[in-house]
């Protein structure tokens, strides 16, 4: 399974990548923001994205992906510091399948990724 990890924090990208590797996923693509990610979507089967990023934020990226014929069915997990109820509702309405609030544990990330995969 090919997975894209989108976050402007290189530390957070590496933490997420380490966890995915431990779950057995090896084909991981990294992007620094939504705009960068849009150029790396070929063959992607799962998206893990941050919200607050320069160039193109995560919510705009999600809306762009969901309006694209080619990519609209790819499941999206949002991993963000934005934890307000209205923010979470807005993200889900925009097409996010699962939501993780930073700071997060590896256990939570594993649980949410497994839940998506088993669907």
């Amino acid at each position: 399974m090919k997975i894209i990890v989108i976050d402007d924090s290189m530390t957070t990208r590496r933490i997420i990548k380490n966890t995915l590797n431990q779950l057995g996923f090896e084909d991981i693509v990294e992007a620094e923001n939504g705009l960068d990610a849009l150029t790396k979507m070929d063959g992607i089967q799962l998206i893990l994205t941050d919200w607050n990023m320069p160039e193109m934020d995560g919510l705009t990226f999600v809306k762009t992906v969901k309006s694209s014929v080619a990519y609209k069915n790819i499941p999206i997990i949002m991993i963000t510091t934005e934890a307000g109820k209205d923010d979470i509702i807005e993200a889900i309405k925009s097409g996010v399948s699962n939501y993780i609030v930073k700071p997060f544990t590896k256990a939570i990330l594993e649980e949410k990724v497994k839940a998506i995969i088993s669907n």
């Binding site: 590496r14 933490i15 510091t81 934005e82 934890a83 700071p103 997060f104």
Partner: protein, 156 residues
């Protein structure tokens, strides 16, 4: 500045560092900053706008920033590299984001900006002079770091 407004930042600092880096920050006694005596090597700050205006910053000595980064990456970190600077910014982002949620529940609507990280040696930390700045000292394994909160809350 009301302690009711400071506590969300203290709580989110402890939460971010304990969850992400498995360290236990011990809270010291907060005080109002009145001079330029706060020194640090790496500072991560987040601008805040909306009904609450100002900034919040986390200021670390090199050794502590390397330790936190190493714990987060499950790796040995013995120089101040891009990962260390990035980590300080991302922790500041989590601190501001966590406090934002609590303040929202208290009725304050605010937005947080992207982190700005400055690194060097023994820097004099920056803060907006227009607002009162509360300094919150913490200790991890005998080393100090500082949370600085310089915010203007509307009268409610």
């Amino acid at each position: 500045m009301n302690v009711e407004y400071i506590n969300p930042f203290i709580a989110s600092t402890i939460n971010a560092l304990s969850v992400m880096a498995a360290v236990n920050p011990v809270l010291g006694k907060p005080y109002l900053r009145e001079d330029n005596t706060i020194r640090s090597d790496i500072s991560g700050s987040i601008g805040i706008a909306g009904e609450v205006v100002g900034s919040v910053a986390l200021n670390f000595p090199e050794s502590l920033a390397m330790k936190i980064t190493g714990n987060m990456l499950d790796d040995v970190v013995n120089e101040v590299n891009d990962y260390v600077r990035d980590t300080v910014g991302e922790i500041a982002n989590m601190v501001a984001g966590g406090a934002k949620k609590t303040l929202l529940e208290k009725g304050f609507h605010l937005q947080i900006a992207l982190p700005i990280v400055i690194s060097g040696h023994n820097l004099n930390t920056m803060y907006p002079r227009d607002f009162p700045c509360v300094v919150v000292p913490f200790t991890i394994d005998g080393e100090n770091f500082f949370l600085e909160i310089a915010l203007d809350f509307p009268a409610k």
